[in-house]
Amino acid sequence: MKTIVAITLKGIFRDKVFQGIMVTALMFLFIPIFASLSMRQVTELTITLSLSLISFILLLLSVFLGGTSLWKDIERRYTFSVLGLPLSRRSYLLGRFGGTALFVIIAASVLGIAAFCVVAYSSSIYPSDRPIVWGSMILCILFDALKYILLIAFAFLLSTVSTSFFLPVFGTIAMFVTGGVTQQVYEYIHSPASKTLSPFLKQTATALYYIIPNFGAFDLKLYAIYGLPLPANGLLMTSAYFVVYVGLLLSVSSSIFTRREMR
């Protein structure tokens, strides 16, 4: 499995994905200029823009790497040669997933360092009233990465049942959007404002709320931007949620993939 992780990483790097990220990351250079338009919160705006840029790049990575990784292997017939080796389907899938997840972490780290430089530069020119909590920023980027790793696990699940890349790619995007609003929908449904809705609709929505991944919990941007105290308990719970949910997705994926026929 370790070798599959290594091979996957090598593949991503050799496909010049990293260079692509670096080109996109050039946008970091414009962040201080844009942020200086802010009247009262240049640093906060710099952090906002940096974190959003990172988040955006990681989203693209997870959708395209996660959604096409298995599909490409099957489409290009790599699976015939690789799965003919004494390697269980499960370790193959986990290796592929591990490599992709690791790449997301590497990309997040590199982008995080770039973001730190930009924020440090911005705040040295326009000192901010709020203290910059670097630890919160690191945690924010880390949880962002975790969120996208969860999304990748989801993309892998879709890849194991699909023969084309449409389902994994578009399904992953749809899941990202749904997972982002599920908390709000849940809260709306359990508020007096939703009295007029039919009970069936409410129950369906509540059921979906428990099934669909909840990405809202992973968003720590507000804490990082305004240096608010982090909810330690919540973070612990979110981490546990991450582990359990990813574990679930991967075990379902591997059992499907193990049964899948390589035609």
Binding site: T3, I7, K10, G11, R14, D15, R76, R77, Y78, T79, F80, S81, V82, L83, G84, L85, P86, L87, S88, R89, R259, E261, M262, R263
Partner: protein
């Protein structure tokens, strides 16, 4: 214990609109260790299907298969196999050397052995010059060579090769034959599919012919060759001895120097006795047989009509 064994192995594909294809029907096959087995069949006969089933890439509709006594559903059954898929494709962002090393590492080879074996197989398959280049720049034949190299690197007991000669130039084909003969000498089991009867004739111990998913013939090459003897071509010198004594055998050719007869196997003894009595001088004796190609074509024709 058989190196490869299938027990009423069947595979049915369900295509779109529930169209069913019976790609393989009740295949019973045993291949012994140290045996070179040729798997012959026309296009779409079910050769690749069989091989994919044996490699665990497809799940049988019914029946089972095992390698060295281990069921193919287990990944461990592939520990003793070198597998070459049909029209292989390998991670094209890797170089041949990296890929061979990757394969070696999957078989838990230790580093120094892997180094040595990698160099050996790359040189043997004439990939040494290109070993550092990414495989996306390789020609079809080069990829095929990588495919063969990666079956050899860990020196397994069983080789399962789906059309090992395809895409290779004559030098490459000769090389593959040489490699297979070499493996045979070292007591390895080789199971390979092909359309080319000549290859089978030269290297195989046994051959199986599959047509439309059904095994139509299974025999040793020796037997087939022997049963294929149609008669003997006998050439005698003209005007020597009493040619008239051989009158009941019709001459197929006759000129100033020679007279040629085609003698069926059953009458050969009688013919030779007459030759002795009439002091006819034999200048050439040749066995006349149908080759494997004809044998194969016959089976395919019968199979189709059946």
């Amino acid at each position: 214990m058989n190196a490869i064994e299938t027990v009423s192995l069947s595979k049915q594909f369900t295509g779109k609109k529930r169209a069913r294809v019976e790609a393989l029907k009740q295949l019973d096959l045993q291949v012994a260790p140290g045996e070179v087995f040729g798997f012959l069949g026309p296009n779409g006969a079910g050769k690749s299907t069989t091989i994919k089933l044996i490699m665990g890439l497809l799940r049988p509709t019914s029946g089972s298969a095992s390698i060295m006594g281990m069921d193919v559903a287990q990944a461990a059954s592939r520990r003793v196999v070198g597998f070459l898929p049909e029209n292989p494709a390998f991670y094209d962002y890797l170089s041949a050397e990296e890929y061979i090393r990757f394969v070696g590492s999957q078989f838990n080879m230790d580093a120094s052995l892997l180094n040595r074996r990698t160099e050996e197989v790359l040189k043997r398959l004439d990939l040494w010059e290109a070993r550092k280049r990414q495989m996306r720049g390789y020609s079809k034949g080069m990829v095929q060579r990588v495919g063969l190299a990666q079956t050899l690197v860990h020196d397994p007991e069983v080789y399962i090769l789906d059309e090992p000669m395809s895409g290779l130039d004559p030098i490459g084909r000769a090389l593959v034959k040489e490699i297979i003969l070499d493996l045979k000498k070292r007591g390895k089991c080789v199971f390979f599919s092909t359309h080319i009867t000549d290859d089978v004739e030269k290297v195989c111990d046994r051959v199986g012919v599959i047509v439309q998913g059904q095994l139509r013939a299974l025999d040793s090459v020796e037997n087939i060759m022997r049963s294929g003897i149609e008669g003997y071509l006998v050439q005698t010198r003209q005007h020597v001895g009493n040619q008239a004594a051989l009158q009941e055998f019709k001459a197929i050719r006759s000129n100033e120097q020679f007279v040629e007869y085609l003698v069926p196997v059953a009458q050969f003894q009688e013919f030779m006795a007459l030759v002795g009595e009439s002091s006819v001088e034999i200048t050439l004796l040749e066995t006349k047989r149908r080759d494997l190609e004809a044998f194969f074509l016959d089976i395919v024709e019968n199979g189709k009509s059946a």
